[in-house]
């Protein structure tokens, strides 16, 4: 519950077809193969997306594409093999009961307290639009909002002056609409429950339950803003399309766990969930926030059902000893410093 960071370690084991239907230029024919798979239907006739999925395989893959890949969206077989070797090495290290004598051991918890990828991602970045794989530039308003956000805390300055210096995630309020799906070190589960006229996306961290009506009903009034916004869904063939607006502005962004430059209240999100095989859904989110970003952008990754994986209740606020201890530790340090100064 202390500072949580995106794990940098990369991951992998076997290849997995990527459905890059949303890509400006689909880079392979994998998407064609994926589209050929027809999901079962629920008893009331909707495509069945139900199950518990995790994005663990994409832990550590950057939102933006590294320069060496240019406009290439998929890794080569050789690059995948390299990542798979890294995953294998990591798994071996995780299995060690004791650290190697003389090895470099940090003071943090062991890495395997978080989740690990089971196989290599195929993509070179989460971002597939724009074509260059880079998050579009901020607008002037976006830059000002980012500056304010940075000044208010988010792991900079002295966040421990007050809880208000921490992110909405560290405060256990929410990770927001994008932060709740982008893969991080753990808690990447999404459980999908469907009923006639609805889909529910239950996101493990911080126990979100997004209830999405499919009945064509209009959004709630524009004066009702919430952290997770108002979502409405519909089917396009076997793809679930979810449109979300009415978010509270200036709260969460596309950084790890909803950090980074906060969206404006005018942001609009379009998610597409397409089941590409028995275990896998290709998940895509397109973000249009012209007050914050100079262009729309789209990221995608597969989420996958894994043997034995399930969501656990992430009672974040109820057990938020991390922020409590950081705040009380800072006050104790100040008190000790003041007393030391007096004695001089």
């Amino acid at each position: 519950m202390k500072h949580r960071f995106l794990m940098l370690a990369a991951l992998s084991l076997t290849a997995l077809p990527v459905a890059a239907q949303q890509a400006p230029k689909p880079a392979t024919t994998a998407s064609a193969a994926a589209r050929a798979w027809t999901p079962p239907k629920t008893s009331w006739g909707d495509p069945d997306l139900q199950g518990i999925y995790t994005s663990d395989d994409y832990i550590g893959l950057g939102m933006n594409r590294a320069a060496q890949y240019g406009t290439r969206q998929l890794l080569t077989d050789e690059e995948v093999a390299t990542r798979e070797r890294t995953i294998e090495t990591t798994a071996q290290r995780d299995a060690q009961e004791f650290a190697t004598p003389g090895g470099n051991v940090g003071t943090g918890p062991p890495g395997h307290w978080g989740e690990r990828a089971r196989r290599s991602p195929r993509q070179t970045s989460l971002l597939i639009e724009p074509e260059n794989g880079q998050t579009p530039a901020l607008t002037e308003e976006g830059r000002q909002r980012q500056a304010l956000y940075t000044r208010q805390g988010a792991g900079t300055a002295n966040p421990e002056d007050s809880w208000e210096g921490y992110t909405y995630y560290i405060r256990c309020i929410t990770r927001g609409i994008a932060g709740s799906v982008i893969p991080v070190i753990y808690g990447n589960g999404t459980e999908i429950v469907q009923g006639p006229g609805y889909v529910v996306l239950l996101q493990e961290m911080v126990h979100e339950a997004r209830v999405i009506p499919l009945d064509g009903s209009p959004h709630v009034g524009s004066n009702i803003k919430t952290y997770m916004g108002d979502s409405r869904g519909h089917w396009e063939g076997n793809t679930l399309v979810i449109e979300t607006k009415n978010i509270l502005g200036n709260k969460t962004g596309i950084g790890g766990n909803g950090g980074g430059t906060p969206f404006s209240e005018d942001a609009k999100f379009t998610e597409r969930l397409t089941r590409t095989d028995k275990e896998t859904i290709q998940y895509t989110m397109r973000i249009e926030d012209p007050r914050t970003y100079t262009a729309p952008f789209t990221f995608t990754f597969p989420i996958r059902q894994e043997q034995g994986y399930q969501n656990f209740e992430y009672a974040c606020h109820e057990g938020n000893n991390g922020m409590m201890n950081q705040l009380s530790g800072a006050r104790a340090d100040e008190k000790a410093a003041a007393e030391a100064a007096k004695q001089k």
Binding site: E141, E191, P196, E208, V211, L214, E318, M324, S328
Partner: protein, 308 residues
């Protein structure tokens, strides 16, 4: 978490959390709007380049609602369909037993936040506490304005989530049934086809369901011991097992019954029951009440860096 400013802090936060959902939500919204004030004129608004690529199908919704069934399907897999937005209309969140009117904690709020009399939901009105548990309930009640976990926006647990003054959404599939509660974004999934063993205790417990005729029976185990039944200090231990029964009286009313079994706290199992009503307002929708931020001054206020 206790400190000498507790009463001062609670006077602000408890009001927002403890009393009326609607008032709290309105004040939350207004606080949010202030916080969300733009920091600059939106000079670039509308000047963004046209979407570069995946415009396909992203604006039009030709298939909307056409492949899905209508929202009101009477039965799913031969069983009654409980899908919908629901809310109980009892005063039980104040006290699950019969209770008389009482003043609220803050005279400044006058009639708006006093405690109205209410009829309880406990069958026979008596809760069979063991003697030592009854003493704990007395202490809880004395400390109700600070000790009730609702004040801190902790997840309410089952059964309390079902009679808090907030709506909740049921979405029912063949194998799983989702319950999404407005308060604290608490939620749970009821596993009907593949039961799950409670591996760790959780505020919302672990729920497994089965059908007895047209009645949905849900057994909730693995319950966290710190949740309360109401604002009056009625409580349970980690041995709590709740057996819920949901029966449709008609398409818009659920007859709800819960059997409370906790041999560490009670001398015998006991029952509560009340109706739950479908929210019939046009376009009624589950909203979110993320109440955590309205508890932070209360919980962390004593740890704020003093202003020199």
């Amino acid at each position: 978490m206790r400190d000498r400013y507790k009463w001062l802090a609670v006077s602000i936060i408890a009001v927002a959390i403890t009393f009326s959902a609607s008032i709290a939500f309105v004040s939350a919204q207004s606080a949010q709007s202030k916080a969300a004030a733009p920091t600059a004129a939106p000079a670039t608004r509308g000047q963004a380049p046209a979407p570069a690529a995946p415009a396909r199908g992203q604006t039009a919704a030709p298939a909307r609602g056409q492949t899905g069934a209508p929202a009101r399907v009477a039965r799913i897999g031969g069983k009654p369909n409980f899908t919908g937005l629901w809310q109980a209309l009892t005063g039980a969140n104040w006290d699950i037993q019969d209770h008389s009117t009482e003043p609220g904690p803050f005279y400044q709020l006058g009639a708006a936040f006093a405690i109205p009399a209410g009829q309880g939901i406990v069958e026979g009105n008596e809760i069979p506490y063991k003697p030592e548990a009854l003493e704990q309930r007395r202490l809880n009640r004395l400390n109700r304005w600070t000790a009730d976990p609702e004040i801190k926006c902790y997840m309410p647990g089952i059964p309390r989530a079902n009679y808090m003054p907030f709506p909740f959404q049921i979405v029912q599939g063949d194998a799983t049934i989702a319950f999404a509660y407005e308060f604290a974004t608490s939620n749970r999934v009821v596993y009907v086809k593949t039961p799950r063993k409670a591996q760790v205790a959780a505020w919302m417990g672990t729920s497994n369901g089965h059908w007895e005729g047209d009645t949905l029976v849900v057994e909730v185990t693995g319950n966290w011991p710190e949740s309360w039944f109401d604002r009056s200090g009625n409580f349970h231990s980690d041995a709590l097992k709740v057996t819920e029964r949901y029966t449709l009286r008609n398409p818009d009313v659920i007859d709800y019954e819960a059997t409370i079994d906790d041999p560490k706290t009670f001398t015998r199992p006991w029952k509560m029951s009340f109706p739950i009503y479908r929210r019939l307002e046009k376009n009624a929708k589950l909203l979110e009440y993320k109440c955590v931020e309205y508890t932070e001054e209360l919980i962390y206020g004593h740890l704020r860096k003093p202003v020199n």
